[in-house]
């Protein structure tokens, strides 16, 4: 049990990982992440890669929606932009370490086109504009065949570094995992500074934010740009991981998936992003296993129900968490920790 820790300076008080115990844990975590694909087997490595992509995308959405209060219904489409951008960049011979930032930038740029007009007004216009962007971009993905390959999609070559191909889950893992860690850390850092505080201020009470000298327009735009940048990078990684970009991957259901992830995890919380994305990555796998068992037990039609079942469960999770635990898994985690912090001396 930890008795308490005392911060001797303000800088120490502001540090992210302030106790020795936390730093040791962090080191162990990083070591575990590095060893994971060698220990975890191919299925778990696959899941870890998928989770890494979901983490980055969900973090971006949480910056926008959870922290700044801008509801985006088009997050998946912005991922799509990143994914196609990587496909196009690779075709032009641009290496992945440039293609990924480009994917993020492309997504952010398109985000700005949608965002600038709709951010000038309050409230739901933004949500509707992102919904519109979702459908319009989906249409572009389908119809602009010379670039996107239409409904058949575009192939994405493996990321390669000096002739070394990052093909196969285990190798891609070492592209995705470090990026996921870095980008989560970046998102966390954001909220230790004036930029992140301004986002939260805008969400909580935009009028007082303005009185403090925060330009609503500039900061909403910044939040949206950061969110779409994250989506773009996640989409690019998606391309390198699945090696293909097709329009139906990046539709409204995926956008709803990410909304569900941040609600279930906890709006406006990086810990919540991690918990929510993990939970939501595992849920479909769990459902698939469930349906598999059902089939094994003689319900041959069970497979048909997988897609609708998934949708029902996602929807129920969104509604259920909003009604019963609006602060999400992150709050449950905090409660549990508080309980054990002083356990067994106080309960």
């Amino acid at each position: 049990m930890r008795i308490g820790d005392f911060h001797a300076s303000y800088r120490h008080d502001e540090a992210l990982f302030d106790t020795r115990a936390q730093r040791v844990w962090l080191g162990l975590l990083l070591a575990a992440l590095a060893a994971f694909p060698f220990v975890g087997g191919s299925y778990l490595t696959y899941l870890a890669c998928l989770l890494g992509i979901h983490l980055i995308a969900a973090a971006g959405l949480n910056v926008m929606t959870g922290y700044t209060g801008l509801i985006s219904l088009g997050h998946a489409a912005f991922m799509g932009v990143g994914c196609y951008a990587v496909a196009v960049a690779e075709r032009a011979g641009i290496p992945f370490f440039l293609a990924l930032p480009l994917a993020g930038a492309a997504s952010a740029a398109i985000g700005l086109v949608v965002g600038i007009p709709s951010l000038r007004i309050k409230g739901l216009y933004f949500a509707v504009a992102t919904l519109a962007a979702q459908f319009v971009l989906g249409f572009v993905f389908r119809e602009w065949e010379s670039v996107t390959g239409g409904v058949r999609g575009a192939n994405v070559p493996a990321a390669s570094l000096f002739g070394f191909e990052l093909a196969g889950d285990r190798r891609v893992y070492f592209l995705i995992a470090p990026l996921a860690v870095l980008m989560l850390l970046g998102a966390r850092n954001l909220f230790r500074t004036r930029v992140g505080r301004a986002f939260i201020a805008i969400r909580d009470r935009d009028i007082s934010a303005e009185v403090l000298g925060i330009s609503l327009f500039r900061y909403k735009l910044a939040a949206f740009a950061i969110g779409s940048f994250y989506a773009g990078v996640a989409g690019g990684l998606w391309g390198y991981f699945f090696r293909v970009a097709t329009p139906e991957l990046f539709g409204l259901p995926l956008s709803v998936f990410y909304l569900a992830a941040i609600i279930v995890g906890g709006l406006g919380s990086i810990l919540g992003t991690i918990l929510g994305a993990t939970f939501m990555t595992l849920i479909p796998e769990f459902l698939r296993a469930l349906v598999g068992w059902a089939e094994a037990f003689g319900l041959e039609q069970a497979g048909v129900y997988l897609a609708p079942l998934r949708q029902v469960v996602f929807g129920l999770l969104i509604v259920g968490f909003l009604v019963f635990e609006p602060h999400g898994l992150a709050e449950m985690w905090r409660r549990t920790r508080r309980f054990f912090h002083l356990w067994p001396f106080r309960t």
């Binding site: 504009a129 919904l131 249409f139 709803v256 048909v304 609708p308 998934r310 996602f314 929807g315």
Partner: protein
């Protein structure tokens, strides 16, 4: 089409578009009703439509009930659904930030969508033709009967709802409760009841619109997607104005029809969203909207 515009084609598609906008206006009314009554934007309205159409199919085709009995059963069903949603989703969320409520209706939509697919399957079903097909000839312009009748039906329903809202006791209470729930409560209006009523009405308008749409096209779990496009345009017209809703519905209908005529069918579903994006660029406060003055 080389050079000259085909005026006849333009006129015909414009008229058909405006007329088919009637159903869209009915959908728009569904959004406006709920917004006026409870200050909630119901992203699940499309799913209400879809569920209504499936219920009708079940009663009318599967159970082979006559259409009026099937309709009565359907409306009772969706009204019950609306009441349940109000009681178990919206009421617990009262006082929560807008974002939570909006997302709850999105979640609700996903649940209904998934359930419908599980129960009725993902394939297209078809409803019997409820509306007469006999077309109307206006000079050289041919107006399909279904479109004409759906328009008439939508107009009748919209008029009925508007009258109800304006003159009936419940309608007045609903408006009072919407503009100031606390005061309305203090004046002896049962606010919970009016909110429940609002959601039941929303279910009913949605279901009727859903049945009309399904009978003219076909029935699948994604029937309700059309509603999102209508919502996009309704927001531009102003969510609390019935007139705005009607105009929005007609505009979407007109533009969709013209797009089909001059651009191609695959671009049709895109129209409302493009309209929204373009209008937001040009007139960021919406078509009729004014900058609201806020009391600080």
């Amino acid at each position: 089409m080389s050079g000259a515009i085909d005026w006849l084609l333009l006129a015909e598609f414009s008229l058909v578009g405006l007329l088919s906008g009637g159903v869209l206006a009915l959908i728009a009314l569904g959004f406006v009703l709920v917004y006026k009554g409870t200050r909630v934007i119901n992203f699940a309205l499309g799913e209400f439509m879809m569920v209504g159409a499936y219920l009708f199919w079940t009663a009318n085709v599967f159970l082979a009930l006559p259409w009026w009995a099937a309709l009565a059963l359907t409306l009772a069903g969706v009204a019950a659904l609306g009441a349940l949603v109000e009681r178990f989703v919206l009421r617990p969320l009262a006082g929560q930030p807008v974002i939570s409520i909006v997302m709850a209706t999105i979640g609700l939509g996903a649940v209904l969508h998934g359930l419908a697919e599980a129960v009725w399957g993902g394939a297209n079903l078809s409803l019997p033709e409820l509306l007469p097909r006999k077309p109307l000839l206006l000079g050289e312009i041919l107006l399909p009967g279904q479109v004409l009748w759906s328009f008439a039906l939508a107009v009748a329903l919209i008029a009925a709802f508007t009258a109800y809202f304006r003159w009936s006791k419940d309608g007045v209470s609903m408006r009072a409760a919407a503009s100031d729930p606390v005061t309305a409560y203090a004046m002896g209006i049962d606010v919970r009841r009016t909110q429940r009523l609002t959601w039941m009405f929303a279910g009913v308008t949605g279901a009727v619109a859903g049945i009309i749409v399904a009978s003219m096209t076909s029935l699948s779990p994604s029937l309700g997607t059309v509603a999102l496009g209508v919502l996009a345009v309704v927001i531009l017209g102003g969510l609390d104005s019935i007139a705005g809703a009607i105009v929005a519905g007609l505009i979407v209908g007109l533009l969709e029809s013209l797009t089909v005529a001059f651009v191609g069918g695959q671009a049709r579903d895109l129209v409302p969203y493009l309209v929204v994006l373009v209008i937001l660029m040009v007139r960021p406060y919406g078509l009729f909207g004014t900058r609201d003055i806020e009391r600080l």
